[in-house]
Amino acid sequence: MNGVHDMGGMQDMGPMRREHDEPIFHAEWERRTFALFNAVPDVQWPYLRYQIELIPPADYLRMSYYERWLTALGEILIKTGMAAPAEIESGKAVGGATKGHHVLTVAEVATWIASDTSPKLTAVAHFRAGQRVRARDMNPIGHTRLPRYVRGKVGTIERDADVEELQDSDIEGLGAKQQHVYTVRFAARELWGERASRHDSVYVAMWEGYLESA
């Protein structure tokens, strides 16, 4: 979706504002929002991110980071059937407990920061480091991780970096569900024209299905 969340290359968003001795959270409601959003059962980050992207653009820009999470949270509970709209509205459970979900435990939280011992995903690589590639020019309606600023541009594969599952809502035509992710180097001038520095570049992590040979 060509939404406002896809911000790379936009201008006039204001100066960098840094906060001295910034706390991790600025208020208790941010702590609780952070925890609840992370603890929603049986949903994955691509889905969570997409729900944030679906916040209407004017609201998205006006909201703080955790206001977006809080707004998306209610929608997620409704859309997944975990709570009814009336329950979100009132904050009161009407239908009783929602069954069949895996509730995050304290023990599981500890594993979030432990070494990852899960088996690595595997897939056949169709590109290799050093190869010139073009980012496909596509404009899917749903969730995608292919930013607009890179579509149609030519770059060079820097590293075969990982094997991951595609996160797009619509994966038709993008190849296998599990595929290699490459870091692709785009010269700043390829992306932004002659005024960009000749030395600079942007590296984008890209699933194989986003690429074609160039």
Binding site: H5, A35, Y47, Y65, Y66, V103, D162, S201
Partner: protein, 235 residues
């Protein structure tokens, strides 16, 4: 945000990302009741989140102890001190540095650090300056650096870092000369990035813990350099 794969693993997800996302997209398109008008900015986030938490507890969707553990983990257990340990070790141990640059996840596991499923360390030198951003949301190596600061999540940083990295760096007080190659890393997949900053001069006799104390979050995102210790600050 943290990685998808890890979350999949932990929750034993019932719903595929693609499936649910597609359904959700359709739902919004087809149900006027869930359209824009109903997604207002929460008027009082504190009240709103309290109500949602009570509801989620009552519905048996969350365990309050796990919520508290999540907050404690990301507020107190992880933070830039984790990444700083890896940086300091890399400065002192060339073999470790090599492992860090080629297989970061395995290398940081040697230090007892984890939480990232895929991560690349990019090295700053006198000729190369690296800068990390996530233009699409705010992906960041939570387990290695803690939660990101507000500026990292801001529209200004997300939009400008890729098109005007030198302008952004200038606002952070850095001015790489024209011959320095600025490399911007956009965190578009579940691959996270950590900048290995240059070791400052004047640190030749420092031990690992002393070096780690010099390494800041900003230096590991690429918006600052590690500054040498002040004269006489250590023996």
């Amino acid at each position: 945000m943290t990685s998808t794969t890890r979350r999949d693993l932990l929750t034993g997800a019932l719903t595929t990302a693609a499936g649910v996302a597609a359904t959700a997209g359709q739902a919004r398109a087809e149900e006027p009741g869930h359209d824009h008008d109903h997604q207002a900015v929460p008027s009082d986030p504190a009240l709103r989140v309290r109500a949602l938490e009570s509801l989620m507890v009552a519905k048996g969707l969350v365990d309050r102890a796990a919520l508290d553990a999540l907050i404690d983990t990301y507020e107190h257990k992880v933070g830039p001190h984790n990444g700083a340990r890896a940086v300091a070790r890399a400065w002192l141990d060339p073999a470790f540095k090599q492992r860090l640059l080629t297989d970061c996840v395995a290398a940081i596991a040697e230090l007892g650090l984890g939480g990232e499923t895929a991560m690349i360390v990019v090295e700053n030198t006198s000729k190369v300056h690296n800068l990390v951003v996530c233009t699409l949301c705010s992906c960041y190596p939570w387990s290695t650096l803690g939660l990101p600061p507000v500026w990292y999540k801001s529209a200004a940083y997300r939009s400008r870092s890729v098109i005007d990295p030198r302008g952004v760096l200038r606002e952070f007080g850095l001015e790489p000369t024209e011959d320095v190659e600025v490399r911007v890393w956009d965190s578009t997949a579940d691959l996270r990035y950590l900048v290995l900053p240059e070791r400052p001069t004047g640190t030749e006799n420092m031990r690992e813990a002393e070096l780690a104390a010099l390494v800041t979050r900003d230096a590991m995102v690429g918006v600052a350099k590690v500054t040498p210790p002040r004269e006489g600050a250590h023996a």
